[in-house]
């Protein structure tokens, strides 16, 4: 579980996160949504410790991140998996080496065990015949799968995903969404996904946080998001032509 308490972050005069609190639960896919510039990425990076908050706390299973010393923070980070928007795979390593990298850095596994574990995860994300390929030699969808595999290879307790299906076709995006959800439930991970894709919201939105201009404007689940009377959320949801057409069809127009 990750608790966020009155988090604030600014860059110069620009207040990006303006003080809000929320809780992300394990075994659920927690989605952060909002328009561009609403502070989603800064919020995610602040939770990851890449940005230091100006005030407020991020509490990982009862441990405030800011109270941890450097060594404790490093230990905590070993329990975090992250899927970056652009996958962030290491160019010079093969798919297998990318996935085995956290094991090489943080465990005492020998090479044989590392490869075995990497292959287990490769099978889990349905990546076939790509072990010895470089990231530049595989498709965007496969790169996302590699990034997910690398994020979960160390059995993390927390999984962060920054727009995991951006740039993917709708079918592949749905597969990636479902894969993340399955892994979350299987391993009881606290998963936080940053997205502005309404399809993802509908597929896997167990807990949704809507950010607007640095404020938490709405919180709920996917069944509640279409019923809210929050105008900003409604505008965001129905900015998609597909959802607009569905609403118009439901209204008999």
């Amino acid at each position: 579980m990750i608790e966020v308490k009155d988090i604030r972050k600014s860059f110069g005069d620009n207040d990006v996160l303006k003080g809000f609190s929320t809780t992300f639960f394990p075994g659920k896919t927690n989605l952060i949504i909002g328009t561009s510039g609403s502070g989603k990425t800064v919020f995610l990076k602040t939770m990851l410790g890449l940005f230091k908050p100006d005030s407020g706390q991020i509490i990982y299973d009862g441990n405030p991140y800011s109270d941890l010393n450097n060594e404790e923070q490093r230990k905590l980070r070993e329990q975090i998996g992250m899927v970056f928007q652009g996958s962030a795979l290491f160019d010079s390593m093969t798919v297998e080496e990318n996935i085995a990298f956290p094991l090489k850095m943080f465990t005492k596994m020998n090479k044989h065990d590392r490869i075995e574990r990497a292959n287990e995860v490769i099978n889990r994300v349905n990546l076939e015949n790509a072990n010895h390929k470089l990231p530049s030699e595989i498709s965007g969808g496969m790169q996302k799968r590699v990034a997910i595999a690398r994020a979960i290879v160390n059995n993390p307790r927390y999984l962060f995903c920054d727009e995991p299906n951006s740039g993917l076709d709708p079918n592949t995006a749905t597969v990636i969404d479902n894969l993340i959800r399955e892994i979350t439930i299987e391993n009881n991970i606290t998963t936080i996904i940053n997205t502005h894709d309404m399809n993802s919201v509908m597929e896997i939105g167990d807990h949704i946080v809507y950010l607007q201009k640095g404020h938490l404007a709405w919180e709920g689940d996917k069944s509640q998001i279409f019923k809210t009377d929050n105008e900003d959320v409604t505008n965001f949801v129905y900015s998609s032509n597909l959802f607009k057409m569905v609403r118009e069809a439901q209204n008999g127009r």
């Binding site: 890449l50 490093r74 980070r77 975090i80 962030a88 795979l89 290491f90 850095m105």
Partner: protein
């Protein structure tokens, strides 16, 4: 103010390079990879430039020895002094600021742009140590590259002088051994060692702290070449002043 800020950030980066070290086996692999990229990959260009610039030094010296009273051995003497004192350590280092420096800046800069550095940080890895420290260790071998440059520079000078008909072999070899001061070799390698540190760290700094996209990676590479060259020339002046004057 921005220059002061950059200098401060550079020294903080140097400090961070030596804390929270990367696991031994991983570091060993990284160092070997860097030796391959930075040193072995530069052998060809260093050998080519050294040989031909050595030849040019010999020819120019010979063409300027118009007074018949001046001995032909001066060609060997002047070539040795030029190559060992300045050409091999300094001139090659400035060229390496372009070759190795651009490579370091663009590779680290691309890692920054594509969030690979963020990925390392999120995993709890000291990304500065992981990326910069192996380069510093690999560049410790750089003086050997310069030694090869010195040898080939003198070989080039010998070839141009003897086979170009400017001086007999015996005169050239005599000049090569004339008034040899071993301390000057120490001076050359001492400054080469300092240059190797600058060549590893200044381009790494420009790559690591760059912001923006692909265009900025190119700009950062250019900036890193300029500042590495400036630093090399300044350190060259200071070390020469301290050790030789």
């Amino acid at each position: 103010m921005s220059y002061l800020h950059s200098i401060g950030s550079y020294f903080i980066m140097i400090k961070d390079t030596f804390v929270k070290p990367t696991k031994g086996k991983v570091l060993r692999d990284l160092v070997f990879k860097e030796i391959d990229d930075l040193i072995i990959g530069s052998l060809g260009i260093v050998a080519f430039i050294s040989f031909f610039v050595g030849g040019v030094v010999a020819i120019q010296t010979a063409l300027n020895l118009t007074n018949p009273l001046l001995p032909k051995s001066l060609i060997g003497f002047a070539s040795r002094q030029s190559v060992i004192l300045e050409f091999a350590p300094t001139f090659i280092s400035v060229i390496m600021a372009g070759k190795v420096g651009s490579f370091i800046t663009s590779s680290i800069g691309t890692m920054r742009v594509t969030e690979q550095i963020d990925a390392l940080e999120v995993m709890g890895i000291n990304s500065i140590n992981y990326l910069v420290f192996p380069k510093i260790i690999a560049m410790c071998i750089y003086p050997f590259l310069i030694a090869i440059g010195m040898f080939l520079g003198i070989m080039g000078a010998y070839t141009a002088a003897v086979y170009g008909g400017f001086a007999p072999s015996s005169d050239f070899l005599l000049g090569l051994q004339e008034d040899f001061i071993p301390f000057q070799v120490f001076y050359a390698f001492f400054k080469t060692f300092l240059f190797s540190f600058l060549l590893a760290t200044i381009p790494a700094y420009h790559g690591y702290f760059m912001e923006g996209g692909a265009l900025e990676v190119g700009k950062a590479s250019t900036t890193s070449f300029v500042w590495t060259s400036v630093a090399i020339i300044l350190v060259n002046f200071i070390v020469t002043q301290l050790l030789l004057s």
